[in-house]
Subunit: 418 residues, 2 copies
């Protein structure tokens, strides 16, 4: 059987499973999640063995050190995956939650409720914990899931997904609720992306290259996640100590993630006072600065920022710095170079704060806080399936509700339309 | 300038306009809508002249009579378009409406509000009234719109869109808020569909062929609209008079629209009593019946339904009829052949009603009412931009809210993430 045929079969099995899953009670789904957690912990040895083989091969192909770290599992990380599933079991069930109701003049009663999407595909890269997170979130929201991890983690993912699928089945959930594409061919992804109708939604999680490929190839609806060229703008009226502390946090608390700041914009009026102070704090946090002309006129030891810097997601301890004339220039810069993820203003002025929040076009717009808070946990949604940087369906951190669609329930007594 | 270059310029102008439009007050938008309505009525002669030319050419190329009817404008229809715009002015503004707020343990205040999408493209076929409807709905929701009508209506659309754009500008709205693609090349549509990032959303309105083409070509997010293979299921416990009246309404009140019924499913236990009664009523309404074996065993003068019938959207006074064993078989048939638009059960039994509504996977699931009610006006949303048959973003009738996305506003006092 070739892999396209195999994929089509997986999608059909998933569709059948999704019909059943949509009707499963919250209690039964939670029991499955807890059992999945136990099974992972009870079989950690098998998982670690497969992971060791993946690691060995990855080392031979000279991948980056940070990549190896993402790929690597140990007892602690497996426990973390299990705890993640147990936490999903504690979250409220989004299915059948109502969000609208009305009675029409003709007596028709209309309710809108949330229901599962159906079949969701998740395409991701190195980290094997996404396998359990994504499976858990899709299951809790009543969806069947087809997982496709990075080929470097294939052995690990085969064991993890196999254990999860078995555990789900053992608690009475349908065969096909959790499936993994276990062929390494890249064409398998492309084939899946053309299965419009068979798959309801695809969520790519990973680098810009993966996401771009999915967006350009897919006829299945996509939710784009993750690319973050985030800014912090220090206004003329800013509390400069707060600005320094927030900026260091936004850049350096974890520089590899999408909600980290990449560019700092500073109002000309405070640049002379703020920049040296900020530069010193960034130096302590091992951040390299790249300034525009205005910034380097004040801090001459900054590297020179080029046009390319303004649209670069460094994912590293590098920060570009620009002095702007005013709030208008800051907003224009952000709307031009930003990716619509998370943007912040540091200000004491209510009119500046208000205008910044209105005119900046992004998923999350902060006043006086670090962009690093854009996260499902931090927003109070519990676990997240990713952070959407597109405008359709869901924007910003996506919790369980983002994995549902809606259905109108209409109750009549024989009404007909004139 | 070739048309791809021209298109890219239109998209850029639209983006700039959208930044301004997002901040325009409700009062100013409503004033623009009313002025657009007046301008259409005051220039009906120019519109009718262009329309006469479109009609003349269409007649020469031997298009269907129903097509000519959709293309044709007269004073009454132009007045209808103007009234449509005035009605949109009366609808509540969706922009800045909040739908979520929370305060986190660290003191961060988070609000979610609705904001315009940005730049929306609408691709449609014959009817020139879509030009004014779509322009009005996009404007009211703060979006810039790029319109692409059918090539047969090009002259009419050029005049109508030109008047609307001029009227919008006269009331102080930005240049580029309303634009039309005025080149007949089909490649212009394809070029637009690849402008991911420049255009935020594309909504195709028209036949299945157009929608399929857009879904398969577009890298811009799409909302699929319209295809409706809708069913009515007459349960064993149904009030058969109600079933007849609802079925005739669902099929024959307007058979060309997407919420019309295409297949009638009848429980075996009532088939013998119900089918002859129903067949007589359908005959009076000039509906041709195509039955499966079970139906034809009772009403032998029905034509024979083939496998193809079950997935056909007739858009005509034709109805396929099938006798099913039970509710389970009805649900299975619907989930297999339906397009997820509108489905109805006629029943007196509460358990059947409940199960049908839970297990049927569609945008709107009715108990004891005609599927013809799936419509923005009938649901109380005011005008609609279309009926979504996909699961992402919006499902079912789409009012103004479907043309918005959301933005998280976060207020802090210098919070940083640990």
């Amino acid at each position: 059987m070739d892999f396209v045929e195999e994929l089509r079969k997986k999608a059909e099995t998933a569709r059948a499973a999704s019909r059943v899953l949509a009707q499963v009670s919250t209690g039964k789904k939670n029991a499955a999640l807890r059992h999945m957690a136990d099974v992972l912990e009870n079989h950690s040895e098998a998982i670690l063995q497969a992971n060791a083989e993946d690691l060995r091969e990855a080392r031979q192909s000279n991948v980056k050190r940070s990549y190896l770290d993402r790929l690597m599992l140990d007892e602690g990380r497996i426990h973390g995956m299990a705890e993640g599933l147990r936490k999903i079991a504690l979250l409220p069930d989004p299915v059948y939650r109502g969000d609208f109701s009305t009675v029409r003049p003709n007596g028709l009663e209309i309710r809108r409720i949330h229901v599962p999407m159906g079949v969701i595909a998740i395409i991701y890269e190195a980290r094997p914990n996404v396998t359990s997170d994504a499976a858990g979130l899709c299951l809790k929201s009543g969806n069947a899931v087809i997982l496709r991890g990075g080929s470097e983690a294939l052995r690990t993912n085969i064991v993890v997904a196999g254990l999860l699928a078995r555990a789900a089945k053992e608690t009475g959930l349908p065969e096909g609720a959790i499936q993994l594409i276990d062929t390494p061919e890249r064409e398998a992804v492309d084939a899946m992306l053309r299965m419009h109708g068979a798959i309801d939604l695809v969520i790519p999680r990973g680098g810009a290259g993966l996401i771009k490929h999915v967006v350009e190839t897919s006829s299945v609806p996509v939710i784009e996640t993750g690319t973050g060229v985030c800014h912090t703008y220090v206004d003329a009226s800013a509390d400069l100590d707060m600005a320094t502390s927030v900026a260091v946090n936004a850049k350096a608390s974890r520089c590899s993630v999408c909600n980290a700041m990449e560019t700092l914009l500073v109002h000309r009026a405070v640049a002379e006072e703020f920049l040296p102070k900020m530069a010193e704090a960034m130096k302590k946090a091992h951040v390299t600065l790249r300034g525009d002309e205005g910034a380097r006129a004040i801090c001459s030891d900054m590297e020179e920022a080029t046009e390319e810097d303004w649209s670069t997601e460094y994912g590293d301890l590098i920060l570009s710095v620009k002095v702007v004339e005013d709030l208008t220039a800051a907003i224009e810069h952000i709307n031009r170079y930003g990716t619509g993820h998370s943007e912040a203003i540091i200000t004491r002025d209510i009119a500046s704060a208000h205008r910044f929040q209105r005119e900046v076009d992004a998923a999350a717009v902060y006043v006086n806080a670090s962009t690093r808070f854009t996260d499902g946990e931090e927003f109070g949604f519990g676990a997240e399936i990713g952070i959407s940087t597109q405008k359709m369906h869901a924007r910003g951190p996506m919790g369980l509700m983002a994995l549902t669609t809606t259905k109108y329930l209409v109750y009549g007594e024989g009404q007909i339309r004139e």
